[in-house]
């Protein structure tokens, strides 16, 4: 078949050279300045007129002194040394790097949202409270839950909030429980959150299908189990088909089911965690609802719960009052605040805008096309990079480079690095931990067939090269702003500031 040029391949991205970009401190010239401040007509006396002298700094804190022109040039050049979704395909498994609509940026920049002080009384911020109520309703419909908190600032914060809700629920019953069960394929945040929630982790193995080993789960269950944390589809991209039985088993011993929403994109409008039997759900709005990742945040990790947990939710929560106005209400058995204010409000507004533009059908189409793309890519490259599990995948495909390692001593990392030279971001590698030489591709729904085909062709080129010239893969990448970096040296001779670097 003949295809158009791939829209998401970034191999043409230009660079002016391979020199190191100086730090802003290296560009600094004492006395140079960029800032300008408003005329206030207020006299500024020496600080000793206002503050006790023993508190005053004797030396100013040294920052950089650069011109506005140099500031712009520096950060623009830095931006040119950064791959991003807007540049090209970013099939980083588990991260849902879909296109982020520009419309949502505009929403987040509205002065009526961005320039509102968080301590402004509710009667002056009815629009914000209504946004929170509308978003909570949509998220509850999408997940099949009863109520939600919007405060957690990221997925991990949502996890810990969910575990504290689990704890509050059991404690209210005078029921001290000790353990939380986690499959061995779980994200690392899950066990870390369990520990911070005051529970012990019991890890259960996955079976040869890549799914929860139900017999192992039965063995691990007991009256001291507070709950289980599951991702569904799970981290190998497979749907836990026995979820109803699993939910029954956990509920039978009085435990709760926690849904890690990292992979929610796969099931929008198809199935709902609440219908599967989950009691607590966190969502990663920066994944599923395309509020951008920002190079590692901000995210937002709302937590939705079934009705029997609503009274423990963090407060205050925005609610619609009987007269139709909106007010802050703290649930009567609330675990308390989990954020300094109301959560990552502008991220929440972006997510609501994304949901409103899509509507129910649009969100279902998102899941359909995300799963279509992942399955197509999996099958397209199966001859060179087989799937770790021979089952239909959901929104992402975990492939394995074991045969490459055996034949040519080429590893998943080498494939990932070489792929950058072909104009694509690398997939996630070596996760989940239970798959040897794992390469986890999540193309997302916003990549075209042409882009997927060009990715597949790039993998074929790399596969041929692995046999003819494996060293070429070990040497990759060669066209990027820097090549492979010495991570051991970074840790051994720690230089985490300009001062530590001795400049």
């Amino acid at each position: 078949m003949a295809y158009a040029a791939p829209g998401s391949r970034a191999k043409s991205a230009p660079l002016m050279g391979r020199d190191t970009e100086p730090t802003i401190f290296e560009m600094s010239v004492e006395g140079r300045r960029a800032y300008q401040l408003r005329t206030t007509d207020i006299e500024v006396k020496p600080m000793g007129a206002y503050l006790p002298v023993e508190h005053l700094a004797t030396q100013p804190v040294k920052l950089a002194s650069v011109s506005e022109r140099d500031l712009v040039a520096h950060f623009t050049r830095l931006s040119h040394r950064q791959f991003a979704v807007d540049l090209g395909m970013y099939p980083l498994g588990s991260c849902t790097m879909k296109y982020n609509p520009k419309f949502c940026d505009t929403v987040a920049n509205e002065p009526g949202l961005a320039k509102v002080h968080p301590g402004t009384p509710a009667h002056l911020t009815q629009g914000w409270l209504e946004i929170f109520v509308d978003l909570e309703n949509r998220l509850c419909e999408i997940t099949g839950m009863a109520a939600a908190t919007l405060q957690p600032a990221a997925g991990a914060a949502g996890e810990l909030t969910g575990l504290l809700l689990m704890r509050a629920y059991h404690e209210a019953r005078g029921d001290a429980r000790r353990r939380v069960i986690i499959p061995d394929s779980a994200h690392g945040t899950n066990p870390a959150s369990v520990t911070l929630g005051g529970y012990e982790v019991t890890t259960i193995p996955s079976d040869e299908r890549g799914l929860v080993d139900v017999e192992a789960l039965k063995g691990a269950l007991g009256p001291d189990v507070a709950g289980i944390m599951l991702t569904n589809p799970n981290t190998v991209g497979l749907f836990e088909e026995e979820i109803v039985e699993i939910a029954g088993l956990v509920h039978e011993v009085g435990g709760l089911l926690y849904y890690d929403g990292a992979n929610l994109n796969a099931i929008l409008g198809v199935v709902r965690p609440g219908d599967m039997g989950f009691d607590i759900v966190h969502m990663n709005l920066h994944k599923t609802f395309a509020t951008p990742h920002g190079g590692g945040g901000p995210g937002a990790g709302p937590v939705a719960v079934a009705a029997h947990l609503a009274e423990y939710l963090p407060g205050p929560r925005a609610q619609r009052a009987a007269d139709g106005s909106f007010e802050w209400v703290t649930p009567h058995s609330s675990i308390g605040r989990v954020h300094g204010w109301h959560g990552n409000a502008l991220v929440l507004a972006r997510a609501l805008a994304y949901i409103e533009v899509h509507g129910g059908e649009g969100l279902t189409a998102v899941a359909h096309h995300a799963v279509l793309n992942a399955n197509w890519l999996k099958q397209r490259v199966a001859a060179i990079l087989p799937a770790a599990y021979d089952r239909p995948c959901m929104h992402e495909a975990v492939l394995t480079a074991t045969s490459w390692k055996k034949a040519n001593d080429v590893r998943a990392l080498d494939v990932a690095k070489r792929l950058m030279e072909e104009g694509f971001h690398a997939p996630t590698v070596y996760f989940p931990l239970i798959v040897d030489e794992a390469l986890m591709f999540e193309p997302t729904e916003t990549e075209s067939l042409q882009s997927l085909e060009s990715l597949a062709q790039a993998l074929e080129i790399i596969h041929a090269e692995a046999q003819s010239d494996p060293q070429s893969l070990h040497d990759a990448p060669r066209t990027t702003p820097v090549r492979r970096v010495d991570e051991a040296r970074a840790a051994r001779q720690l230089m985490a500031t300009e001062d530590a670097a001795g400049r």
Partner: protein, 452 residues
């Protein structure tokens, strides 16, 4: 409705045929039929962007922003200038639409910006190490007390009532999981009375510089309490004032946390903000979140990479010191840009203008009969006013005149966490470099009329 999916109908059919399928539903055939949503989601149909923009306009018309109200509210969220240049650079899509820099070869932009940010925050803190950001100040304090508990193998936290009430409330919430015991040292006339509590066996002694009522407290006394208890000394800062005050490191802080919102982040109704976190080298193995370090690539060129990764949750799992993964990188990049724009002199000038403006405001406001400072202690850019009427009533009335007079301490803190008597009559007033003499005079005139 949304139009972000590239697939044509014929392409969908071609792709399904390649998979041996007929319909998109076939992709989900392995999911038990009983679980599948029969009629789709119960939600309104999608609409075009211009149509949803109308809905957004409905919301924004019901909010009062700093375009409508002259802002004297602070309490950890400040109305500073964010210049065009900072907004333009921080909204570059290479920064906005990147993921966490796991592949350093194609992430040098974010990594170097974070390195520069870490340098600036470390210098402001007077400590050698700053991480790549946390969610906000409140959650940064949670990480700080967890670090202290890990370092001392103790679980008691002694926290000044001068620490922002929301920060204390968040620490209390997360202590439900860690089992930490909270002891709150009360305020006496706006200043922490450490002698009122037993600090023995404390993991952390937490002070705020300035405290949430704006008061510049005695850090030597707080350090002494921490040293006597064998606890780590944790200091919460206002990072703007940090440029005129002695650094927490000078006062002997082991850990510094703060709210980085004043550095280039809009008020944003409280988020996303920026959790600042700095510490001593002794604590580095317990550092929460990401850390960027400098190294070289295989050709010997300078390069940056996330480092000391063995601390983090994806490697250490249940033994990790923190569960933080996604943080607030974009806000940290914005802070580096804002601080680059301000520079050494600019940050200091902003802080000096805040302090001068706050003292001018305090003078004209306390000249009103019946209005006085709630604490007779030195303050920086924020102060607590005792009013003859309820603070919330004053705020509501002055909003009609186009002024956001401040925050009601009772509304901010609740009665239990306020740390001052009769908090319903206490108004927390903050002044930034943006506030003019004319605006402050108008505030005083309006308040004077109201309480007459």
């Amino acid at each position: 409705m949304a139009n972000y999916l590239p697939h044509t109908e014929s392409e969908v059919n071609e792709m399904l045929a390649f998979l041996g399928m007929k319909t998109l539903d076939d992709l989900f055939a392995h999911i038990p039929e009983s679980l599948r949503i029969a009629g789709g989601l119960n939600m309104a149909p999608g609409r075009s962007e211009p149509d949803v923009a109308d809905q957004i306009a409905h919301y924004t018309s019901r909010n009062k922003s700093t375009n409508d109200l002259v802002c004297f509210a602070g309490g950890g969220a400040y109305d500073h200038e964010v210049p065009s240049v900072v907004r333009a650079l921080a909204s570059r899509s290479e920064f906005v639409t990147a993921y966490t820099p796991y592949q350093p070869e194609v992430a040098q932009g974010v990594l170097q910006a974070i390195f520069e940010y870490q340098t600036m925050i470390a210098r402001l803190s007077g400590l050698p190490i700053a991480n790549a950001s946390l969610y906000d100040a409140a959650t940064a304090l949670v990480e700080a007390v967890n670090m202290a508990a890990g370092a001392t193998k103790r679980s008691k936290l002694v926290i000044s009532a001068g620490v922002h009430p929301h920060w204390r409330q968040v620490v209390r919430t997360f202590a439900r999981g860690t089992g930490h015991e909270l002891v709150i040292a009360p305020l006496r006339d706006g200043v922490t009375d450490w002698s009122a509590v037993n600090c023995d066996d404390a993991a952390a002694v937490v002070a705020s510089y300035p405290n949430y009522l704006g008061v510049i407290e005695d850090m030597a006394a707080a350090r002494h309490v921490a040293t006597a208890a064998g606890a780590l000394f944790v200091v919460g800062i206002d990072p703007v004032l940090a440029s005129v005050l002695k650094t927490p490191g000078t006062w002997g802080a082991d850990i510094v946390v703060g709210e980085g919102q004043p550095f280039g982040t809009a008020l944003s109704y409280g988020g996303p903000y920026l959790g600042l976190f700095a510490c001593t080298e002794e604590q580095i193995r317990r550092l929460p979140g990401r850390l960027v370090g400098e190294t070289v690539d295989v050709d010997g060129r300078r390069a940056f990479v996330t480092t000391l990764r063995a601390r983090e949750q994806d490697i250490r799992r249940e033994k990790a010191t923190s569960n933080v993964c996604t943080n607030q990188t974009l806000m940290a990049v914005g802070a580096a840009i804002q601080l680059g724009w301000l520079g050494t002199e600019g940050l200091r000038e902003v802080a000096e203008r805040c302090v001068a403006g706050a003292h001018y405001a305090a003078d004209v406001l306390t000249a009103i009969d019946g209005v006085s400072l709630a604490a007779a202690a030195p303050f920086g850019r924020e102060f607590a006013l005792r009013l003859p009427i309820e603070a919330s009533a004053a705020i509501a009335a002055l909003a009609v005149d186009g002024i956001l007079a401040g925050l009601s301490v009772a509304a901010l803190a609740g009665d239990e966490d306020a740390g001052v008597a009769d908090p319903h009559h206490v108004l927390l007033v903050s002044v930034t470099e943006k506030r003019t003499r004319r605006e402050i005079d108008a505030f005083a005139t309006a308040l004077g009329k109201l309480v007459k």
